[in-house]
Symmetry: C3
Subunit: 138 residues, 3 copies
């Protein structure tokens, strides 16, 4: 069994952002030399997300509205978590979007359907944060 | 390490549907001959879902109401994604229900609690769509 | 390839509760002797959850409010599932929080960011229920 590990770093300009990280993950897979197995990609922070969906800007605006409706950022004092922090909404938004994805590796490729793309979802940005890529297989 | 891969195809009669796919997944596991490991089952499309819950029709109607409340299908023009498409709500619904499940394989069986069943959740159906089953182990 | 399996049992005093199970999972990992691989931890019941977030009581109260807003426990008769049962809301709440987490194992440790902690989320408690830990690797 071979294993591979890499951290990807991100610092967004805005509090919230969606970044297509599929090319970086494909590069990790090439580096690993693994042809068959499973790839785990997860946010290492609890106010951000890794998820799979469509690379379409209109849909990303719909995600923003959807998440703001379910877990609005403001007013900050609606959340008990926001004593010394202001990011309770980011913890909730990340819960909806998910922490991680597990992707099949087949013939040395991400075994994806036609439109699957991997995104980093940032909900409390403007600082350096990490995503973990771990691959096991052979 | 052994690996196994199979695609399951579905075409639902309705836009939304829940299909119990546990028997097909058990058949995949038998075919694989794998006794210990992990099984990944994921939707290959970004408007459908694979999830684990109860095989109870009342609960499935509750899921339908719950999802329609959080991400209503209509009016279509409430979503930026719906320029040439009408399925933005399906992308959001699938996000709530999840893309994938990872199941432990122990002694050649799906290592499930008493009521766990795997479902395909379709949110934009009436066309052929795929689910991926990937198993690694030995 | 080595594999490891253990069931963790819980019985909460209240219908809903969040329990930090990171220490038990670290103990499983030590017992397994696995240094590199993947760890799956999932609820074996469909009205409870395993998820990763912050060990902060204010945030847990925010989760409680958030979940009660999206899928309120009462009135019980708002749900079709609640013919002979009263736990439809627990099925929905667990869907939002997720069934499982997959964690990378690196150098014999849970490969976590600075604040990641694993929780058992109970939404229909006061009875004995199980969580599965499965580790594969070497």
């Amino acid at each position: 069994m071979k294993t591979y590990r890499k951290e990807l770093w991100f610092k967004t300009e805005t509090r919230r952002a969606f970044i297509n990280i599929t090319p970086q993950i494909e590069e990790c897979l090439r580096e690993s030399g693994i042809k068959e197995g499973l790839l785990l990609c997860n946010a290492m922070h609890i106010t951000s997300s890794v998820f799979i969906n469509d690379d379409e800007p209109g849909l990303h605006r719909d995600f923003e509205c959807f998440l703001e409706k379910l877990a609005p950022e403001k007013p900050y004092d609606q959340y008990d978590h926001n004593g010394f922090e202001d990011n309770a909404d980011a913890h909730l938004k990340r819960t909806i979007m998910g922490r991680e994805v597990v992707v099949a590796i087949t013939d040395g490729k991400l075994d994806f359907g036609p439109w699957e793309q991997v995104f980093y979802g940032e909900f409390d940005g403007k600082r350096r944060k990490r995503v973990l890529v771990k691959i096991i297989g052979e």
